[in-house]
Point group: C2
Chain length 173, copies 2
């Protein structure tokens, strides 16, 4: 799992690490969906990633230090995947990616409400979110995974998403 390093340019290096179809989508699910187990990421994601690709990407992200892996004490077979400081610092990049996608691509209303709120909130919200993520991924990954430790920002984003979705369902009959 070695980078080839074709150049030391920050943009090039970032593309060597994250420039593929799935890496950022997986980190998105862990970050915004708080999906912490293999099966959760695999089956609850909108896009339907293949299991072999997911396994390969998790291994890769692990080797780059973008996620960490921990045994789940409540289930000897489960592993808990968590964000690290490096991936938590991707929050502003996600905000920009979401903002750009919302303006230039055919996004759906429900799936873009979180991106909208994240953009509106700006740096103060990003900082608050990153602090939350440190608590549920770095300080207490087990509590963060089983829901005993929560992120207020994530709760707000998720509530807004469910609200929009409920409204859309009602409108659709």
């Amino acid at each position: 799992m070695d980078i080839e390093i074709r150049s030391g340019c920050p943009i090039n290096l970032t593309m060597e690490v994250l420039g593929d179809r799935w890496s950022l989508v997986i980190i998105r699910d862990i970050m915004f969906g708080n999906r912490r187990h293999f099966r959760e990421i695999l089956t609850q994601s909108e896009e339907g990633i293949a299991s072999n690709i997911l396994a390969a990407r998790l291994k890769r992200l692990l080797s780059y230090g973008l996620i960490s892996k921990l045994d789940d004490p409540s289930h000897s077979q489960k592993s808990i995947y968590s964000l690290t400081e490096a991936s938590i610092q991707l929050v502003p990049m996600f905000a920009m990616i979401g903002a750009w996608g919302r303006r230039h691509l055919p996004v759906s209303e429900d799936l873009s409400i979180r991106a909208e709120l994240l953009e509106e909130g700006g740096q103060p919200l990003w900082d608050e979110f990153m602090e939350d993520l440190r608590r549920i991924h770095v300080e207490d990954p087990i509590g963060g995974a089983n829901g005993s430790v929560k992120s207020p920002v994530l709760a707000r984003l998720t509530a807004a998403f469910l609200e929009v979705r409920a409204r859309m369902d009602t409108a659709a009959g």
Copy 2:
């Protein structure tokens, strides 16, 4: 050149369009290196992209409206590739990508000075740069390509880069 659209999530859609090894690297060269011809992008890039991949990516970016193509009046065989409003609005994303890469990946000093300046400058500098880019890519792509219309921001970034490189060459003997 159709997107598959596995979901309407802004992050997923952005990855479907830009989530590959080369697209952002090519846009970076056009944006920060003002490389406007096929051969310039091909041979003057740090990373050595293959010509068939470059051709395929340019075609793809063209179909997504992320670049435009224009006949060069000074040379019947040359085409001028230019940014569009959509790709100009990637400036803040590039700033974030550069900032993250500089903090978490083994970047080289010379190639990261521009990212550092872009990050320090913040939104005011990004806005100024985007205005420059509109002039040399949208308003006057021909003048922008042949150097008769310039970007002050780009000039500053390039000067800083050359300065660092000269200093490194001196130090290395």
